[in-house]
């Protein structure tokens, strides 16, 4: 569990995924990737962590993922094999409506 805020960097304990939190609720959240709790960008994964095959949908660079309530949003800055979740509830890909190029 971690207090999250916009700009917090997290990495997966079990795959290459890294994300940046772009929106966060005030309360603590159990953000997971590949089934295991995500850790701080500089932290070392605990021993024995392994990718849960049930949570191996993968992440894609530059995509944004949100929880069902829409209170948590993360941006994938490094892709990996695990998929993202809060507890057991999977985060979903935020579909961006394409805007015309304006600059």
């Amino acid at each position: 569990m971690a207090q999250l805020k916009a700009g917090t960097r997290l990495r997966s304990a079990v795959c290459a995924t890294e994300v940046i939190v772009t929106a966060a609720p005030a309360d603590d959240l159990d953000v997971r990737c590949g089934g295991a709790p995500m850790i701080g960008a500089k932290d070392t994964p605990p021993d024995g962590s392994a990718l849960d095959e049930q949570s191996a949908g993968g992440t894609a660079l530059g995509k944004r993922y949100v929880n069902e309530a829409g209170t948590l949003e993360v941006l994938c800055t490094k892709p990996g094999k695990g998929s993202l979740a809060v507890g057991t509830a999977a985060l979903t890909l935020k579909e961006a409506k394409p805007l015309p190029s304006s600059d």
């Binding site: 700009g7 660079l61 961006a96 805007l99 304006s102 600059d103």
Partner: protein, 505 residues
């Protein structure tokens, strides 16, 4: 949040692509990242608290922007057209600073307290270790200080923090959306918010930036064709000149999209687009997608867009309210809210004019030393006047401060200008208030006619009176060969007023 995270993602996604090109020089995303890291180390080891760049569009602009972000110092692009005294006044406000400039300007700027001058070529050629620290993710840090053009007084330094710019990019650009061969032609100067936004958007989209050092229509046309430009942004005066030159050459035809078969998207903004100009451009470039982007420095660039479908639907329509949308700035981005408010701050009904107010994460609304102009509810009053139609299309009607108060009645110059421009003889016009003993202020119009067309003042007065109200009909009508614009296409109303005062009725 930090602008560097955008470049880091681009580097890991498509590091070997060309990020930015200037003439025959270029940098890939990986090279741009490495250069930013080297200069961040230099900045961090100096006593400079800002990195200023006084230069035309050059590779030093993106390198300086990202190096500043990495080092955690504000980036300050300065207007290279400023004269000695004006420049001194701005430099005094940003010391201690690094100052990157070209070889011609460097000597004159060298002997100044707390200004470390580096020539552009030295800056770009520098070698050294990468900054050992990571960039800060503190979203409230200042990314860019942008001096406003100062058309109404001393320039103000708009404060843009990392959170504003990153929110703007995440809210408006899809990561890696560009095709590998896409190229964006950037001709707005770096000290304009559109110049900064162009760098950030293109980096995040993975689109090669082709810099145009100095704008001329001929140069733009030649470069766009040679580099097979797919995307470009221009201010309205630039588009008018481009279309004029193409018309004069007489060889451009819609059959091959005016000789720009690769030009998929052309965005414009930064001033009012005359309807005749956009209509001519759309006829000449039938396969190009036109987008009108409306925004302010204080809102991290675009807050509303009139997209390609809107353009085509409006141009094809005979219904006046629909056709009029061609001169609207479209609808707000999904990530911002826009409201029109009256003088008491209450939202007004569709079709009623008031002040354009905006709220959203990209809205900075702050000047250095003056604090935030955002209301307690987070809304930023833009000082732009405007109205919104029933379907949410926004019409900009000029600065609120330009409103003419005639006998207690508020008159919008933009509405009168639009009406004058509908006259077939009128090519361009500016409407301002002039002192008047009876009314306090009177309406004055300065009009530029199309080549070979004539019309007299009385006919124009009648034209306005028949379409608006008689109070809006210009008491004074003057004819001039051209109107004063600054280089980024902003009409200099102060100059128009001075001209009227000195040469008089």
């Amino acid at each position: 949040m930090n602008l560097m995270m955008l470049l880091e993602m681009a580097t890991s996604g498509f590091g070997d692509r060309v990020a930015v090109q200037n003439g025959t020089s270029s940098l890939t995303y990986s090279e741009l990242f490495a250069a930013a890291g080297r200069h961040a180390a230099t900045l961090a080891g100096s006593n400079s608290e800002r990195l200023a760049v006084l230069d035309v569009n050059s590779l030093a602009i993106p390198v300086g922007l990202f190096a500043s972000a990495w080092a955690g110092v504000p980036f300050v692009p300065l207007n290279y057209r400023l004269t000695g005294g004006e420049l001194d006044a701005l430099l005094e406000r940003i010391t201690p600073t690094y100052l990157v400039t070209d070889a011609e300007r460097a000597p004159a700027l060298a002997d100044r307290d707390q200004v470390t001058v580096v020539e552009r070529e030295t800056f770009l050629g520098a070698r050294g270790p990468q900054h050992s620290d990571e960039w800060s993710m503190e979203a409230d840090e200042i990314a860019i200080l942008l001096f406003t053009s100062g058309t109404t007084g001393a320039p103000k330094a708009a404060v843009l923090r990392h959170k504003h710019l990153v929110s703007y990019i995440l809210g408006s650009v899809e990561f890696g959306a560009a095709d590998e061969n896409d190229a964006a032609l950037v001709c707005v100067p770096p000290y304009h918010i559109a110049g900064m936004a162009a760098i950030l958007s293109s980096v995040y989209a993975g689109r090669r930036i082709v810099q145009l050092t100095n704008f001329s229509a001929e140069n733009w046309i030649e470069t766009a064709r040679r580099e097979r430009i797919s995307n470009a942004f221009v201010v309205p005066t630039m588009l008018a000149r481009i279309v004029d030159v193409l018309d004069r050459e007489g060889t451009a035809t819609p059959a091959d999209n005016g000789g720009f078969p690769n030009l998929r998207a052309l965005a414009y903004g930064g001033g009012k687009m005359p309807q005749a100009v956009i209509e001519r451009a759309m006829r000449l470039f039938p396969t190009t997608n036109f987008t009108n982007a409306y925004g302010l420095t204080e809102t991290s660039s675009t807050i509303a867009v009139l997209g390609p479908e809107d353009h085509r639907a409006a141009a094809a329509s005979d219904d006046p309210p629909l056709r009029r949308r061609l001169v609207s700035v479209g609808r707000p981005l999904p990530s911002v809210e826009v409201e029109i408010r009256d003088e008491e701050g209450h939202a007004v009904a569709p079709g009623i004019s008031g002040e354009i107010c905006v709220r959203g994460e990209q809205v900075a609304g702050e000047y250095l030393g003056r604090g935030s102009l955002l209301g307690t509810d987070g809304w930023f009053p833009t000082r732009d006047g405007g109205s919104m139609d029933a379907e949410g299309y926004l019409f900009v009607e000029g600065r609120v401060d330009d409103v003419i108060v005639r006998g207690g009645e508020n008159l919008s110059p933009g509405e009168i200008e639009d009406t004058l421009l509908e006259h077939q003889a009128v090519a361009d016009c500016a409407v301002v208030g002039v002192p008047d003993e009876q009314w306090g202020e009177a309406v004055a119009a300065v009009v530029v006619l199309h080549d070979g067309k004539t019309v007299d003042a009385d006919e124009l007065r009648t034209w306005v009176k028949d379409r608006l109200r008689s109070s809006r009909s210009p008491q004074q009508v003057e004819f001039r060969a051209e109107l004063p614009y600054n280089e980024t296409g902003k009409l200099l109303r102060r100059k128009v007023k001075e001209d009227l005062a000195s040469r008089g009725a």
